[in-house]
């Protein structure tokens, strides 16, 4: 049992508050991703989990045991660092073996040359060697065991770092942006390998990234963080389609979600970009708020009409299967972006007039504080909203 | 080794050891200042203390300044250091620019010569340098103290390293703006490589202010002696066992660099370690 409970963690570095009262629980065997821009506190939270930083207040429980004040090596966690943090002077085998040597051998037995011949160390050392080679084989790096980290490629180093974490069968894997030093192609490949590793090991993974594609593809649940706070915790689909907060909606999705200021005209009808659109939530008439519309929520429409937004096309980007159309509805300062299917939309050119419709349940309504205002009577946003490919 | 929080015992041990080593380091300085404030009678007394029983500092320092031309020695040192540094920068900066940014036949060979020059200690060259100064008739002049040092292979090397880091596009832009190559050196390169110039200046001034070997060979005339040679002469001729004024003179010679060091530690450390430490 190695779920994690994080309760009311606060952390400041000097005068800067990095984490404000963060609470979170992680299920045993779950793949949880901490997602957010740099400086949001996600790495600090991970380092507090590892025991590398000490929280100011709050408590951490791993596997039902409170680990506050317990040193990293006794927490039964392993960590993969962004820089991999391999020991450059040691061979790959020695790097992977180190966590086992530190745990199973006494200080005297670890001495170079002599240590091997001290009573009791022989069998332990050969046991460690066996486990190292088994781990290396599982990761496909058995042929690299005698090399130094400096002689390896980025992907190989990454596997060694994973091997060093894996070899002692920790209850929790902590990963701090492990893919960010790889090139794009290798990143996709290693992403699949990490996913596979999680499936095989079945232990809890806590994964820190600023890359939404990694978060979306790997995670059981995503934690979106901003300025030391958790904005939302939910499965990837839900985070995308049903964000709690304007900042979550803006952080996820590419191209970025359109945010449009709107006014309630009458119950169920909103003034937006020169049109009156039906919405499924109850806000007092006359009040102002913000509506978020995903670019792919727009549908091409032949004619103007009720519930249709009209504007002149500023620029078109052809992306193959899709078109990104930048258009200016009247009364808006910034253009809206629509992602239209290249098959369904006819040939659109800059300067022409465009009509697009949008389904009421795909208007995400946010109040002045950026919090989501949900429809009371409309069922949850249709989860079949396509999640676009995360390249 | 950061990120370790020391236990109280470890922290006390750390301070204990460092205070001891600091004491070892400081004893000669403290002793020097202490003696410079004491009367001859007290210096030769069997008991001792750090602070003088009778403050004799004024007499000692007055004697160091008046009976010996110490101000003259220090002025000589300053003049020689300034001349050497000016000449080194004037000679080395354009050369370093040529090596770093210009392509011309023979460049690599000249750079190899600079590297060989780095290998050659001045002391080894002192005999031929002495003969050269003799032939030029400049022995026992300021020129003799300066000439051997007007080019510094280390300076060329250091400046070249820094100039190479400046993007070529800046050189191209300067040429478009109509600057000559010489103007690029002084208006673009040297200002942009100012940290290297400062580090080198400190290195050069410290080395030549403290140098004893070459002045001992090059000048005999007391009016030309830089500070270290001057206090050596003071020790040999006039002072004998008159420690008070001798220590006062030593203190005055050491003081300027130490004060400058305490005021600009970072620069000094960088300069004295050849820019290898940031």
């Amino acid at each position: 049992m190695s779920g994690i409970a994080i309760r009311n963690i606060r952390k400041s570095f000097g005068a800067t508050r990095v984490l404000h009262d963060v609470s979170l629980s992680i299920a045993d065997g779950e793949f949880l991703t901490l997602l957010g821009p740099s400086g949001c506190g996600k790495s600090t939270l991970l380092r507090i989990l590892a025991g590398l930083e000490v929280q100011d207040t709050g408590s951490i429980e791993i596997g039902g045991r409170v680990v506050d004040g317990i040193r990293p090596k006794r927490r039964d966690v392993a960590m993969v660092f962004q820089s991999y943090a391999l020991y450059p002077h040691m061979s790959v085998a020695a790097n992977i073996a180190l966590p086992l040597r530190m745990r199973r051998l006494s200080r005297a037995q670890r001495l170079p040359l002599i240590g091997r011949w001290l009573p009791g160390s022989g069998p332990v050392i050969s046991g460690i060697e066996m486990e190292v080679s088994r781990t290396a084989e599982a990761l496909g790096i058995a042929h690299l065991l005698n090399r130094r980290p400096g002689q390896l490629s980025g992907g190989q180093r990454q596997r060694v770092a994973v091997g060093r974490a894996m070899v002692r069968h920790p209850a929790v894997f902590l990963m701090d942006e492990p893919l960010s030093n790889l090139d794009a192609k290798l990143r996709v490949q290693m992403r699949a390998e990490i996913k596979d590793l999680h499936r095989r090991l079945g232990v809890t993974f806590v994964y820190v990234t600023h890359d939404q594609a990694e978060a979306m593809t790997l995670s059981d649940r995503v934690v979106v963080m901003r300025d030391g706070e958790i904005l939302q915790v939910a499965p990837p689909q839900e985070i995308y389609a049903d964000p709690n907060d304007m900042r979550v909606a803006e952080f996820l999705g590419s191209p970025k979600i359109n945010m449009v200021d709107a006014t309630m005209r009458e119950p169920g009808l909103v003034d937006l970009a020169g049109s009156a659109l039906p919405v499924a939530c109850e806000i007092a008439p006359g009040s102002k708020f913000t509506v978020g519309i995903r670019p792919e929520a727009f549908q091409f429409a032949e004619h103007p009409g009720p519930g249709v937004i009209t504007g002149s096309v500023r620029m078109v980007e052809h992306m193959g299967s899709d078109l990104f159309v930048y258009f200016d509805p009247c009364g808006l300062e910034h253009p809206l972006i629509a992602r239209l299917s290249a098959e369904r939309a006819p040939h659109i050119v800059a300067g022409q007039t465009l009509h697009v419709s949008v389904r009421p349940d795909q208007l995400l309504v946010f109040n002045r504080d950026g919090r989501r205002v949900r429809a009371r009577d409309v069922s949850r946003t249709n989860p079949s909203t396509p999640v676009r490919e995360w390249a | 080794m950061s990120a370790i929080r020391l236990s109280p015992a470890a922290a006390i041990l750390r301070h204990g050891v460092l205070v001891l080593t600091s004491a070892f380091i400081l004893v000669p300085f403290v002793w020097m200042v202490s003696l410079s404030l004491k009367s001859p009678g007290e210096i030769f007394r069997a008991t001792f203390s750090v602070l003088p029983a009778q403050f004799y500092g004024v007499d000692n320092y007055a004697k160091a300044i008046t009976s010996v031309p110490l101000p003259r020695y220090m002025g000589n040192g300053l003049l020689v250091c300034a001349l050497i540094l000016a000449a080194q920068i004037l000679v080395c900066a354009p050369a370093a620019y040529a090596l770093a940014k210009l392509k011309f036949w023979g460049r690599d060979f000249i750079f190899a010569m600079v590297l060989v020059g780095l290998l050659l200690p001045h002391q080894v060259l002192s005999l031929p340098s002495f003969i050269l100064c003799y032939k030029l008739g400049i022995l026992n002049t300021y020129l003799a103290l300066v000439i051997p040092y007007v080019v510094s292979p280390f300076g060329i090397f250091l400046f070249r390293q820094f100039f190479r880091k400046i993007p070529d596009d800046i050189v191209h832009a300067a040429r478009l703006d109509g600057l000559t190559e010489l103007a690029i050196v002084w208006k673009i390169m040297v200002p942009m490589a100012l940290p290297a110039v400062i580090a080198f200046s400190i290195f050069s001034v410290v080395a030549h202010w403290n140098d004893l070997f070459w002045p001992l060979i090059a000048v005999r005339d007391g009016h030309l002696m830089p500070a270290p040679l001057g206090i050596m002469a003071f020790k040999n001729e006039e002072a004998g066992n008159d420690y008070g004024p001798l220590m006062a003179a030593s203190t005055l010679v050491v003081a300027p660099l130490l004060i400058a060091f305490l005021a600009a530690q970072k620069w000094f450390v960088e300069g004295m370690t050849g820019g290898s430490v940031k």
């Binding site: 590398l52 | 400081l26 002793w31 040529a98 060259l125 080019v151 070529d168 191209h172 270290p228």
Partner: protein, 322 residues
Amino acid sequence: MSASLPAVSRLAQPAEGAAAKLSSRVSLPRRHSFYEAMWGWALIAPALVFLVVLFFLPVIGVFVIAFSDWQFGASSLSFVGLANFREVIFDEGFRASLINTVVYVVMVVPGTVLAGLLIALLIESSHSCRALYRAVHFLPFMATATAMAISWEALLHPTIGLVNHSLAALGLPVANWLRDETTVLPVLAVIGIWQNLGYAMVLFMAGLKSIPLDLYDAADVDGADHWLDRLRTVTIPMLGPVSMFVVIVVALRAFETFDTVQILTQGGPGHSSEMLLYTIYRESFEYLRAGYGAAVAIVFLAIVVALTLLQARSMDKRVHYQ
């Protein structure tokens, strides 16, 4: 996010292309290569002339003097092969000088490097008083050696020196440190360590700073969290290349010791504290034995060049390490 990137890069491309064209026009290969070469030679000429006159001709001069019978004031010379070197090698004074220098270096280098390393580790292990300790330990490296040697002489004075006063107060035997053949070289070595340990310390501190903090974190997670284990797993191995560099740089400085010998002992008593640089100075300029002095200078040069080349190799290694 990534999809809006192509638009930006498409905009950026023409500008980059223009810049590339511009720069190729400014450093025009053919027409400007002559101009560039002229400037190159013009800018390097003063340095080149001085390099030749002040470094290369003198070094040839040293060899000529060492292999000939030239004396001060002589108008002609003839080559005598290795005669000067033979004289040097069979001279007891030189052999004493060489042995003294080596013994001195062998005392100064380990003392300086170990003390520098220990002090650097202690200072960096906590923030308290870090800058103060660093400044204090670096002071002797800056201070004028001549002046400090005079202070050391007073400290070591047989009757009024602090050292003997303190030893006598503790009931320990005293000595005439600088006039006793058995103590003079170790005492000079202590002064050498005193001068240079701050330098070693600063180099080690830079080495410590360049160790990635991630490695210490990894060691923590891997279980190497005792200070001894951290030292053994991360700190000491990562300082390896820097240590090699420090050893050689300190050895070079120790070989070049002159001021303390000149001020404190003049090589005495007997030859017991004579060192190479002092021998070069005295033979060349006091005894005016040019051939002898030049031969010793060449021996000295060989040692310095060997050490410097070793240092260059260790710097190369440092690059390959990562």
